[in-house]
């Protein structure tokens, strides 16, 4: 398996370049072919990710949705290849990087394997991720850790982590040959803080390890299974947690990851086979995403693809969310329990009828009542702009919204922008210049009719117009009262801007 993996990984840069297929909506757009992605990092408003391939290919995005290739990291390294010490400790392959900002520097850690498990993890040091910056260059920082081909470890797949409790910097690494290991880094140099100390074994039977922290717990996420075989790859992401950064990392059934434990975080699903290489993208204000690659995206010819998805939390464990799917929904305020609706007079589903007594007086059941759609009840709706309000959800036509992705208008990490219309009509939810809401008769494509729908860490959604006229700050759909939606600055500590999308 290792030999095959080596050969196949070397082909990924080429394969990714060939991945410029027609992109279906609801997966990242543009040049998204990638294997072993690094953590996605935001720098000067742009999103950067690096992956396996010759010279460590760079992927960049202006919005987190549409991606493009931008050369390789090694193009900005003196000599255009790993430094001599890295080559001596490992080899000339360049795989699976990860990076972090520390002070005014970026540290990129990358795998430089020879014949595994002889391998090294090299360090590159730079001040900016922007290749167009005059300050853009990467300096060789030498090997940080390595494996000699005999010891019980394979020094590839670095994952770098800053402990938010004290600012210390840590590196996990390893791949199948033995253990996933942990070493502490010097936040100023990016190199090992205490090279004389023996690395700490924290897991086994995996690769692509990385840590995250939340609410007093350290989580170690590791990819299990086999890679690099397209739709025949069994890659899946598993995890354990510990109260100390050094472990022990225990899964949900009490098994130490050093003994092969690991609670499933994400396996194959939908049209995607073999997720691996978790990375946290924390956008703040209860919006967390994670990046990964799929070994095979069946909608794009089965090649390996980058994806960004919502990261949720439940019962003390991270949960892989799904990017928003188009469909028709009730949009319900978490705060009030009332539903967004067109401000028109509703009609009961099935028409007016008698109460029938409490509990129903009829001795026999009736025939099914069909769902109400706009064509049935919209004859008297005003033809022009109509207010938007909230009311108890009663399955009525003015309460059902169709959410549809809009092509070629950009997006945000993981998703394109959406338009939100009353189902069966062109009446479109629109942000107004006085920071309120209205339903206009038709979609114009203007940014106040394009909506960003982020799933928050609790599973609810934040809904934001791409821009609001007369407002410089981003605003979110907000429930100020039981029947009144508005736009307001997102406040994560409140339920005002949290919404549920329920299938009617």
């Amino acid at each position: 398996m290792r030999v095959a993996r080596t050969l196949k990984r070397s082909l990924y840069a080429l394969a990714a370049t060939a991945a410029l297929l027609v992109s279906p909506l609801l997966a990242l757009d543009g040049e998204t072919g990638m294997h072993d992605p690094s953590t996605v990092v935001v720098h000067d408003g742009k999103f950067y990710a690096y992956g396996t391939g010759n010279g460590l290919p760079i992927s960049v995005s202006d919005d987190g949705w549409t991606w493009r290739r931008a050369g390789t990291l090694m193009q900005a390294v003196p000599g255009g290849r790993p430094g001599a010490d890295v080559l001596a400790r490992g080899g000339n392959n360049t795989w699976a990087p990860d990076l972090i900002r520390s002070g005014d520097k970026y540290f990129v850690y990358y795998s430089a394997p020879g014949t595994q498990p002889k391998a090294a993890i090299g360090l590159l040091i730079g001040k900016t991720l922007d290749p167009s910056s005059p300050d853009y260059k990467w300096e060789d920082g030498g090997p940080v850790v390595w494996s000699d081909g005999v010891e019980d470890s394979n020094a590839i797949d670095p994952g770098v982590f800053r402990d938010p409790t004290n600012g210390s910097l840590w590196l996990t690494y390893g791949s199948y040959f033995g253990y996933i290991r942990l070493v502490e880094l010097n936040p100023k140099t990016g190199k090992r803080l205490s090279p004389e100390r023996k690395p700490i074994n924290v897991a086994i039977n995996g690769e692509a390890s990385i840590m995250i922290f939340r609410d007093g717990w350290y989580y170690l996420l590791v990819t299990h299974g086999s890679c690099c075989a397209g739709a025949n790859s069994s890659y899946n992401i598993r995890m354990g947690r510990a109260k100390k950064v050094t472990g022990p990392f225990i899964d949900n059934v009490g098994i130490d990851m050093l003994q092969g434990g690991g609670k499933l975080f994400l396996g194959s699903g939908g049209r995607y086979v073999g997720p691996g290489h978790f990375g946290l993208l924390d956008l703040g204000e209860s919006v967390q995403k994670f990046s990964c690659h799929y070994e095979a995206d069946l909608d794009r010819g089965g090649i390996s693809m980058l994806d960004i998805r919502p990261l949720l939390w439940r019962d003390g464990w991270p949960v892989a969310g799904e990017n928003f799917k188009e469909g028709t929904y009730e949009i319900e305020s978490v705060r009030t329990g009332t539903a967004l609706e067109l401000a028109v007079q509703g009609a009961p589903v099935g028409g007016l009828r008698g109460r029938g007594g409490r509990g129903g007086a009829a001795a026999t059941v009736g025939t099914p009542i069909p769902a109400q759609d706009a064509a049935q009840v919209s004859a008297n709706w005003p033809s022009g702009p109509v207010d938007v309000r909230m009311a108890p959800y009663m399955l009525q036509a003015q309460q059902k919204w169709t959410v549809t992705p809009v092509a070629n208008v950009g997006g945000y990490p993981g998703s394109p922008y959406f338009k939100i219309t009353i189902a069966g009509t062109d009446r479109v939810l629109t942000a107004t210049e006085d920071q309120e809401l209205v339903a206009l008769a038709a979609f114009s494509g203007r940014p106040e009719q394009l909506w960003r729908i982020d799933q928050l860490t609790d599973g609810t959604y934040r809904v934001m117009p791409k821009t609001t006229p007369n407002s410089k700050e981003p605003l979110a759909l907000s429930a100020v009262g039981s029947s009144t939606p508005t736009l307001a600055r997102f406040t994560p500590e409140s339920d005002r801007q949290r919404w549920l999308f329920k299938t009617p």
Binding site: Q345, E436, V480, G481, S482, S483, T486, A488
Partner: protein, 235 residues
């Protein structure tokens, strides 16, 4: 329009008739939850609720509560200048064959109990329309505020002559259930007006302003004396 001199006599007769004829506790006075104002102006309560109002005795209407029916009811002229008048305590009106009067009240609670208000006056509580008015005095211009109301049942609200809230159908009073878009209170008096339609059962309302952070607006007072103002645009 004004029949103020007639009203006290009518009320006295009415009270006596109520006691003598009905012999029940339909005392024609203020409900226990209401009191006569004794000061020129009243601050909001701790939660920002407006507790001083002029209430018009109920007007008989169909009691239908759909959006269209309520809008038709409140836009029907029941008395002259119903969307602009700033009545005084005791002003009386003739609506058809019925005489109704305005009552200045302070409510003890956060809400105004219209059911008890009407019941205490031996007036109907079902299929009725209540007009209510108050004057909010702002110490300075305040932008970005919202009128926030709850009502049982449907109601339509105006601030300085502009319609800002309509909530419909049979409903209970829930705090902040109906909230206006952002508006501006001008310095000095601002007229708040509402029409509440009840079909049957209990009826009441509550109202307050929220500031630009959606917190109860404080620092304003409420009066029911006629301000020397004309109603203007809310925004």
């Amino acid at each position: 329009m004004s029949d103020r001199t007639f009203l006290p006599s009518l009320m006295i007769v009415g009270v006596l008739a109520g006691v003598v004829v009905l012999g029940v506790a339909h005392a024609q006075g203020l409900a226990p939850s209401l009191a006569r104002p004794t000061s020129p102006a009243k601050a909001t309560n701790a939660d920002g609720f407006l507790q001083r109002w002029l209430l018009l005795e109920p007007i008989a209407v169909s009691g239908q509560l759909t959006d269209t029916a309520v809008q038709t009811t409140v836009k029907t002229q029941h008395f002259p200048n119903q969307l602009t008048t700033i009545p005084r305590d005791g002003d009386a009106l003739s609506i058809g064959d019925t005489k109704v009067a305005w009552h200045a009240v302070d409510t003890i609670g956060y809400n105004v109990n219209l059911y008890h208000f009407a019941y205490a006056l031996n007036k109907p509580t079902s299929n009725v329309l209540f007009w209510v008015v108050t004057v909010v005095n702002a110490p300075r211009e305040i932008s970005g505020v919202r009128l926030a109301i709850g009502s049982n049942a449907a109601s339509v609200w105006w601030v300085n002559g502009k319609e800002v809230i309509g909530i419909y159908n049979d409903r209970q009073t829930v705090i902040d259930e109906g909230v206006s878009k952002r508006l501006r209170l001008k310095q000095g008096p601002n007229v708040i007006r509402a029409a509440i339609v009840n079909a049957g059962g209990h009826t009441d309302f509550c109202a307050r302003f929220l500031d630009d952070q959606d917190r109860p607006l404080k620092g304003i007072t409420v009066s029911v004396t006629s301000p020397s103002t004309t109603e203007g645009s809310a925004k």
